[in-house]
Symmetry: C2
Subunit: 176 residues, 2 copies
Amino acid sequence: MHSHSHERARPFENRFEIVIMVPNKSREKLDLGPLPSLLGYALRRAQLAVFADFNAACEKLQLRPAQFSALLLIEANLGCKQSDAAEALGIMQPNFVALMDELERRDLARRAPGKTDRRAYALELTDAGGTLLERARTVVSEHDARITRGLSASETALLLQLLARVEQNATPQVAP
Amino acid sequence: MHSHSHERARPFENRFEIVIMVPNKSREKLDLGPLPSLLGYALRRAQLAVFADFNAACEKLQLRPAQFSALLLIEANLGCKQSDAAEALGIMQPNFVALMDELERRDLARRAPGKTDRRAYALELTDAGGTLLERARTVVSEHDARITRGLSASETALLLQLLARVEQNATPQVAP
DNA sequence: TATTGTTATACTCTATAACTATA
DNA sequence: TATAGTTATAGAGTATAACAATA
């Protein structure tokens, strides 16, 4: 408090003052009403923010969430069919075609001919795909640590468990 | 058990047996690897399932999540500006225009002229909008109860709190 | 007859640039 | 010069129908 007025009294010293003018948006903060207590709303907000962080982190690698998860899935299930991979990721088959086209175009994954069924492909990672996935793993781990910072290990585990239960609750069950 | 074989012995009674043939997809269950432990992945899965349940529940009312939240927000902030409403909901202004167009076309909300600023609108609910919102509140409450069933009140509260913290972690902070 | 992968297509959500009319 | 609202547009993500090749 005293130092400030003292410094102001020596105007010709070699100092800089950087002022960032944030344009005053003058936005009224609105009352969100019951929205924050609606789970679907909170889920949506969190998911959008988390994907934005993921995309920013993986911009260098040019990997979107679906592409990253596809590479992970192929690595964990070498030789699997396209339809099984799409099903596991919750992606419709026609949409997964375009995803695989792109991964193949970038030489990250490969559609090898099926061993027994000539209709089906056996999905594989290329060497470049394995290398990129290794780099992505690091970046995504950092991303995951960033979005869960301040949460204890047990809180994070509980969050994952609660999300799984909510997903289960919201998923229509088919008769066995 | 006995009754069944007994009934089979009387083939000409006026009974029906309805058999639903579920096509055996013969899908291999793939190994999801580290995906289930990634928060972003769990968030996305849960959010998709929850929105699907919301949309199924609100199909009768023809209300999508963004429309419902907009009606709620307008009701809680009668006379608010369009830009403030969009900002509060995390919707880009140009996209909120189309949303309001649709609500106005269905006579659920209204763009009244601004009191002091002739550039701005004052958003209001119509009577029909208030009535529909009241019905939607019931449907969405049931939806919310459905997706959180099996969770205790404290678990649900904790889930909301953890989601808010994750959203905050993932949101880039601007310097004040 | 059913499954695998594919094409074509459509609809929603999201994002950006550029315009107008007011301030 | 900046803000409120708008238009136009583009890009993802998601969904379905219909087809060819194979089982």
